[in-house]
């Protein structure tokens, strides 16, 4: 395997949590729900995904369980912010705290005291016949675990949903002008609740990916700020599915590059190298953000009978 190939392969592997969490953020955001619980939901997804896989055998069950629990949190966020119109940011943070606490608590309760940390098998690579033998790109794109394909397929589906279907037309209108959508019979609350639930499910999947790909085990703090970066990525990608895909490549590229620089033996203190992804993100955003549009109703609740919410 050439060096370029192996570098790119690592980048693609590292893209997945960014893609899933940022697409989840984008999906909820396009319907107007600004979820800020990513970091917590990813931890919860990692914990649940790991524990369920361990106890019931099989990564698939773990992934489904993580998605369901994440989805429940998202549903709750959507429900209380549409039904009771509670502040999205505050609820999001409360859910972040709760999810973080529950993630570690569950691990402690289920695993308890053992002197052998339990392991789950990580996902196997699935190589796609023919395609995986293309030079360079083959191994990078078509010899990866199922979650990698899932992340790309989800991105494509979201693009199709948002821009090529009638549902997407309705969905986007809810985040742009819910009153207009409502006046035309679009169910604003239901759209928001479902997008929030599906978005949070994607975030939890992003978290579950970590133990299933990198470690085979759950450790506290394994999300390591990726949830916060996913929010950055949603802005960075202009709340559009395909731009987010490109942005994820940038974020993951930075992450892998920062380590690559160290391994290459460059004589820069490793502490500075570890800042690279964050500084680079800010630098790029200084210029890229000018073109970004955010959904007009992002983070704002809609009340049909209120005159101030339009």
């Amino acid at each position: 395997m050439t060096e370029v190939t192996s570098f790119l392969q690592l980048v693609v592997t590292a893209m997945v949590p960014f893609i899933l969490a940022a697409q989840g953020t984008m999906l909820a955001g396009r319907a107007g729900v600004f979820n800020v619980a990513q970091e917590g939901l990813m931890m919860l997804g990692a914990s649940i995904g790991f524990l369920v896989s361990l106890k019931f055998g099989g990564n698939l069950v773990g992934l489904v369980a993580a998605a369901l629990v994440g989805g429940f949190f998202g549903w709750f966020l959507g429900w209380v912010t549409t039904r009771f119109r509670l502040d999205q940011f505050v609820i999001g943070l409360a859910l972040f705290f709760a999810a973080t606490g529950i993630a570690s608590l569950l691990y402690k309760v289920v695993i308890g005291v053992t002197l052998q940390p339990p392991l789950i098998p990580t996902l196997d690579d699935v190589s796609i016949p023919v395609l995986s033998s293309i030079p360079v790109l083959g191994p990078v794109l078509f010899q990866q675990s199922g979650m990698v394909y899932l992340a790309f397929v989800v991105s494509g589906l979201l693009y199709w949903l948002l821009y090529r279907t009638n549902h997407g037309l309705k969905l986007r209108s809810v985040g742009e002008n819910p009153k207009a959508a409502d006046s035309l019979g679009v169910n604003v609350a239901r759209t928001r609740i479902w997008c929030s639930a599906a978005g949070a499910a994607l975030m939890a999947l992003a978290g579950a990916y970590l133990p299933m790909t990198y470690t085979g085990t759950y450790t506290e703090g394994m999300v390591a700020g990726r949830g916060w970066l996913a929010i950055a990525l949603a802005f960075f990608g202009g709340w559009r599915p395909l731009y987010i895909l490109a942005g994820a490549a940038f974020f993951a590229g930075m992450e892998v590059l920062a380590l690559r620089v160290q391994v290459g033996g460059l004589d820069v203190p490793h502490q500075f190298i570890s800042m690279l992804p964050y500084v680079a993100t800010l630098l790029v955003m200084m210029f890229a953000l000018r073109f970004a549009r955010i959904p007009a109703f992002l983070g704002r609740n809609y009340d049909r009978e209120s005159r101030t919410s339009h």
Partner: protein
Amino acid sequence: GSSEPGTSTTGRAGGDAPRIAAIFSGSATDADYNALGLLALQAAEKSQGAETAHSESVPVPDAERVMKEYLADGYTVIWSHGSQYFEATSKLAKQNPDVTFIGEFDDKPKESIPNLWVLDRNFHTAFYPLGVLAAAQTKSGKIGYVGGLSLPFSYSEVHAINQALKDNGSSATVTPVWTGDFNDPTKAQQITSQLVGQGNDVIIGSLNLGMVGAFQALKGKADNVVVTAKYTDKSQFDPQHYATSAIYDFTKPLGDMLTKIEAGERNGYYPLGFKTGVSIQTPKNIDPAVAAKVEQAVTDITSGKVMVEKNLTPIK
């Protein structure tokens, strides 16, 4: 008594039995450094009849507060398991002359405190044989060292490996890399993948939980690579690439110190070494000749034939 990970307060109360409290930096279920601490504590409970308690996941800035709480609860021996607590421990020792403290350190402390036992972990000693292994094993001449934080003890490990390479006339080079956290397996996985991608065929790991990630990076790939670990037997993580581990056992050191404390010897210096708690696990997945060299190195160090220099200065 309770079986909770967070606490255990068992053993006989009252009498002259010591009441020992320990603080750990991570979860005692980590099957790693903190689990070793808990094992030693439980052994002490049995052998000394001590009453014990411990706190897990104590961040460095909180160590002083947590130890003070134990002081307030009347514990007579306080053990801080981890050299990151040494400062706070010696400070409290000076303030509380009636309580005996056990602190861990990676050097001989400059001043001696009448109620403080110092446990010197001497990590460099164990990494010399690992360096011997690497020198004999590597085909590519490239050795990767995966550390967490760039602390003096980590530097001493790299220096020891370099000394081993030199002593064995090897021209191989060591690339030290830092994940920034001893317990971040994701970073460890990514960085190990890259080390292997760069042609490093011996990976010397000096991580706690992060080690899991380092093994994951190799699973099912790169047959020619071997990995060494630290603290406990980690062969279960990746039987295919696992070579050996520098095994640490705190039961004997803790027991020795407690016995002396009970005998009234309230301070001292206790260095870890191949006779006191450290061993190199019998290597796997490598040539028996190489394994023999490693064993020889251990013997030579123990007998004093080889002096491993303790060099805590940063690596250029």
